[in-house]
């Protein structure tokens, strides 16, 4: 069924009984052209673009839980493309362009809201670094705008501009950045892929990768063996565990990142703000809750829950930026497992096994990349060669000395 104003009206008069399930719940077939492990945003987007861009519809997406239960439903919903390095920037800009046309493409309201993203700076040196980043963005054709203190103050007068230690001196703004309803992204891609014939198989955990003569022939799952010509891994925080089934050791550690929502408030924050003195980012959802997050906890974890020390740390950073937050109550917090790579940048590449492909290492920036990740991974799966925007995101880049390290921290995943 195509969603439209007319369909809402028609079903409104028919006691809402005309709606059908947004996707099927098929039993797995014996064999698929392509199997994608992981029914998160990236896996579902990959299936959608495989079907739409490359005409490959004999595809299965295997999800061990239910779709939307992993990181695609656990992030702070921010989209942006304000990256510095040439290996990253064109990819994230492709992603932002796909976000801009996503709802028409999927016929699904993902509530894409280009409300702008502002990165604050607090020192002259930080301002210079943001000028450099803004110039790099503009050289790549991305919008970037430097705001002075007065301009930021006129937009958000409630921030602590005269903080003794970290006064706010301005910000770098990307107006095309913003937020997206994250669950709707999973549902929209699932529905669109399903419509083109992709089988989305939930409650189906991959337990082994079967190989013959150095090639993958299929996967053992909790619903039995499923054969495939090509296998794509998009398992986010569990990438290392799935790759281990094919005897691959990845440049990845799994870490826990927490996110938070406050009680509902009247509208007061109409953009996304990123604190420059600590690690803190915040926006206000359409329901009124403040959605915010900070650093990863800093230790390897598969637990999907974090520690109180970080809860306190995030709250401190938030209050340092917006003192009024001290009177706001936390409503909920949760954790997601991040596939932290060794340089903070992702991997979309072939593997040493001929028909096994890898999409991993998203650190905690995977949500904004969802459309481009799916688009480029589908390109790689269909054609066997990387999309032009992902030529730097290779699995062997560390060995060759071509890391894409935005922050210059080196191979220390808990710092990225």
């Amino acid at each position: 069924m195509r969603y439209s104003a007319l369909s809402i009206l028609r079903n409104g008069f028919a006691r809402q009984l005309g709606w059908t399930s947004a996707w099927r719940f098929p039993k797995p077939k014996a064999h698929y052209d392509v199997i994608i492990v992981g029914g998160g945003g990236h896996g579902l987007a990959t299936a959608h673009y495989l079907a739409k861009e490359h005409g490959i519809t004999n595809v299965a997406v295997l999800e061990k839980g239910y779709i939307g239960s992993g990181n695609v439903g656990r992030n702070t919903t921010i989209i942006r493309s304000n990256y510095l390095l040439p290996g990253n920037n064109p990819f994230y800009e492709l992603s932002l362009k796909l976000w801009e046309g996503l709802e028409q493409d999927l016929n699904f309201n993902a509530m894409v809201s280009q409300r702008g993203v502002i990165n604050l700076f607090h020192t002259d040196a930080q301002r210079d670094a943001y000028i450099r980043r803004g110039n790099a963005m503009r050289l790549h054709g991305v919008d970037a705008e430097l705001l002075d203190r007065a301009k930021v103050q006129s937009m958000m007068p409630f921030m602590d501009f005269d903080n003794a230690r970290f006064p706010i001196k301005g910000g770098l703004m990307q107006r095309r950045g913003g937020t997206v309803r994250h669950d709707a992204v999973a549902w929209g891609y699932a529905r669109a892929a399903d419509k083109r014939g992709v089988d989305i198989i939930q409650d189906c955990e991959v337990t082994g990768i079967r190989r013959e003569n150095g090639r993958v022939v299929g996967v053992d799952t909790s619903q039995g063996f499923i054969g495939c010509n090509k296998l794509g891994l998009a398992a986010a925080g569990n990438s290392s565990r799935v790759a281990e089934m094919a005897d691959l050791k990845l440049p990845i550690e799994s870490h826990v990142l927490q996110a938070f929502v406050s009680e509902g408030l009247k509208p007061f924050l109409d953009t996304v703000v990123v604190y420059g003195a600590g690690h803190f980012y915040i926006s206000q959802s359409d329901k009124g809750g403040l959605v915010f997050g900070g650093d990863i906890d800093g230790y390897n974890s598969y637990a999907q829950r974090g520690n109180l020390a970080i809860v306190e740390h995030v709250a401190e950073a938030g209050i340092a930026m917006i003192p009024a937050l001290s009177r706001v109550r936390y409503l909920r917090s949760w954790g997601g497992v991040m596939d932290m790579s060794m340089d903070g940048s992702p991997i979309i590449d072939r593997t040493p096994i001929d028909n096994l492909y890898l999409n991993a290492g998203w650190c905690y920036g995977g949500f904004k990349a969802t459309p481009a990740s799916g688009f480029c991974f589908a390109h790689l799966l269909a054609r066997g060669e990387p999309h032009p925007t992902t030529t730097a995101m290779r699995l062997d880049r560390f060995e060759r000395g071509y890391a894409i390290d935005e922050r210059g921290y080196g191979p220390q995943p808990n710092l990225h």
Binding site: S240, A303, N414
Partner: protein, 88 residues
């Protein structure tokens, strides 16, 4: 994770006193082949379960420790001085 960590030198101390470095891997010899160094610097087994990590007791004895911990349950099984660790 447990809020209290038993440091072999300081006894039970709050977890916030410690800084976590990451995987407690055995460092290759300086003249080891490049592949071995690549493995040590960049590749991780990243298990779900038992894991050995280097922790630094920053606000205590300032010794480097090896903590054995479960990455799924966060339970801390063991905490030893790094110097006492048997070479692997």
């Amino acid at each position: 994770m447990a809020s209290l960590i038993t440091c072999p030198h300081c006894g039970q101390r709050p977890k916030e006193e410690f800084a976590i470095k990451g995987a407690a891997l055995a460092r290759p010899a300086p003249d080891a082949p490049q592949g071995e160094w690549y493995d040590y610097v960049f590749l991780r087994t990243n298990p779900r379960g038992r894991y050995e990590e280097y922790w630094h007791h920053v606000s205590g004895c300032r010794r480097w420790l090896v903590v054995t911990r479960d990455t799924a349950s966060h339970a801390v099984e063991d905490c030893r001085d790094a110097a006492e660790r048997a070479p692997t």
